[in-house]
Amino acid sequence: MIRLFKTKRGLLSLLAFATIWFIILYYFVSSAAGIVNSQSFERMAADLFGALGLSSLLQWPVAEYAIYWLVAVYFFPIFALSVCSDQICSDRQRGTLRFLTLRSTRTEIIFGRYLGQLFIVAVLILMTSVATAILASMRDLSLLPASLQLGAKLSFEVIIVVMPFIALMTLLNTWVHSARLAIVAAVLFFSLGPLVTAFINYQFGHEFYLNLLFPGEQIESILSQRGDVTSQYWLPLTQTLVLLFTSNLVMKRASL
């Protein structure tokens, strides 16, 4: 938190985040109700959302959250990859980690840094959710209770979604020596990974379910929010545990 609010780099990241979300909230989310509820767009929106399998979102009492959900569920994982790209690598490169390991275990450092990053991202998710609730209440104050209830549920869902993304950056941080390299490695993982998976499946002739290795694999199935999807929680939570466990193993054997 200190790094985010008390350092120049942290404040710049926060400013960029606030600007992006101001644009999203002002231009997309605040006009959501108008688009969804207007006669002229109602049919088109229903067709569009229906085609995407998202028609259940149109039935939400607070239309703003339909747009918020669609943006947040894709934005925050990408944002987490960027903002959590430097969990330990710069400390390691600088030698600061050597001071820390004389006072705390490597496991504590890995889990401590992970939880710290998760906390920061969770706070930012909650802030955007509250901002959406305020926008909806400004349109119709009677929507406030429903907004808060829906906002809390969706914030929780988004936090679950981002957890393995942050854990992936924890793992990459144990291998690479800079935040930039960690981001490059993550981009390669998400761009080349599916190709490699498809090639393995094709080469051996049957499904190995390697796609389950990729954080965010469940996003498409939970997007419509039509009810509980089996993989909604267990997949990201399992991925998070596996990634953190692997990070801990790598870190324990790493040379500092």
């Binding site: 790094r3 600061t96 050597r98 001071f99 004389l102 705390s104 500092l256």
Partner: protein, 299 residues
């Protein structure tokens, strides 16, 4: 005397390159220990192994009866690793306070201890400065301060005075001397005169092997006196050899002579005889050292 460090058959390889091989020594509580050796001898590797930053390829290390990196050593072993830097984004007081809290101190005690160690390294006025605002020497002193937090039993300083001006280097040496009664220091430096002043034991590494492990200036049947003169005197060797008890005089370097004295013969008066001889000949000496200099012992 209890062992503070016990190393057995320690080896470390980086791929095909051998950094340390078959290193074996044990250190007891007591005066500071010097870790000496040429560049690339494996000093920093040994430091890193003792601190648990890297794992040995083979062999065992026991530090205060625990494996390096063990949680049981937190607060008991501290170090200044070579080239390690504090985070440039936070003030040095903030970081030292954080380290003190990690060592288990209360908030109030951590604050007090941070002020104490910063005062020791003469950085009280810069406590709220970020490392990026400080000079190289000040940053170094700040990292030395972190090694002194709490009450460590072992403090390892790798090239602690490298890059410091003479006044600050002297200050650091004074800190080591003052604390040496309570803390076991292990120092690595290229400044042999500095190590000579501070350390009683020497670990000499060369090409990854421990060549010498002994208490400085402890010899067998003979003892040594090192004499440094202010000028060159051509007949000085022959003249000193006439003194009773001096069996050999060798010129170790320009204006420096090593006298070999046979134990038991005029043991107490040889220095007096030597000084009288110098005065009679009107020769000016710069320094008289009981024993060999560390430089002469090692090289």
């Amino acid at each position: 005397m209890s062992l503070i460090i016990d190393v057995k058959q320690l080896s470390k390889h980086y791929g095909d390159k051998v950094a340390l091989t078959g290193v074996e020594f044990s250190l007891e509580k007591g005066a500071p220990v010097a870790l000496v050796g040429p560049n690339g001898a494996g000093k920093t590797t040994l430091f890193s192994l003792l601190c648990g930053y890297i794992r040995p390829s083979s062999g065992t290390i026991n530090v205060l009866d625990h494996a390096p990196g063990s949680a049981a050593l937190f607060g008991r072993l501290s170090a200044l690793p070579q080239d390690a830097q504090l985070d440039p984004r936070f003030s040095i007081a903030t970081q030292l306070n954080f380290y003190a809290r990690l060592q288990g101190m209360s908030s109030k005690r951590a604050k007090h201890d941070t002020a104490r160690v910063l005062e020791m390294v003469a950085l009280s006025d810069a406590s709220n400065s970020q490392p990026s605002e400080l000079s190289h020497g000040m940053r170094k002193r700040a990292t030395i301060a972190q090694a002194l937090l709490g009450s460590p039993e072992i403090v390892m300083l790798d090239e602690a005075t490298a890059g410091l001006d003479p006044a600050n280097a002297k200050e650091i040496r004074a800190i080591v001397s003052e604390q040496a009664c309570d803390v076991n220091f292990i120092l690595s430096s290229h400044d042999l005169s500095e190590l000579e002043r501070l350390c009683d034991q020497v670990l000499y590494l060369e090409a990854g092997q421990l060549k010498q492990h002994k208490a400085a200036n402890v010899n067998g049947n003979t003892r040594y006196i090192t004499l440094r003169m202010k000028q060159d005197y051509p007949e000085i060797i022959a003249t000193i050899l006439q003194l009773q008890g001096v069996s050999q005089v060798t010129m170790t370097q320009d204006k420096e002579y090593l006298l070999t004295v046979i134990n038991g013969q005029n043991k107490t008066s040889i220095e007096m005889d030597l000084l009288v001889l110098l005065q009679q000949n009107n020769w000016f000496y710069a320094q008289l050292i009981n024993g060999k200099t560390l430089e002469n012992q090692l090289f």
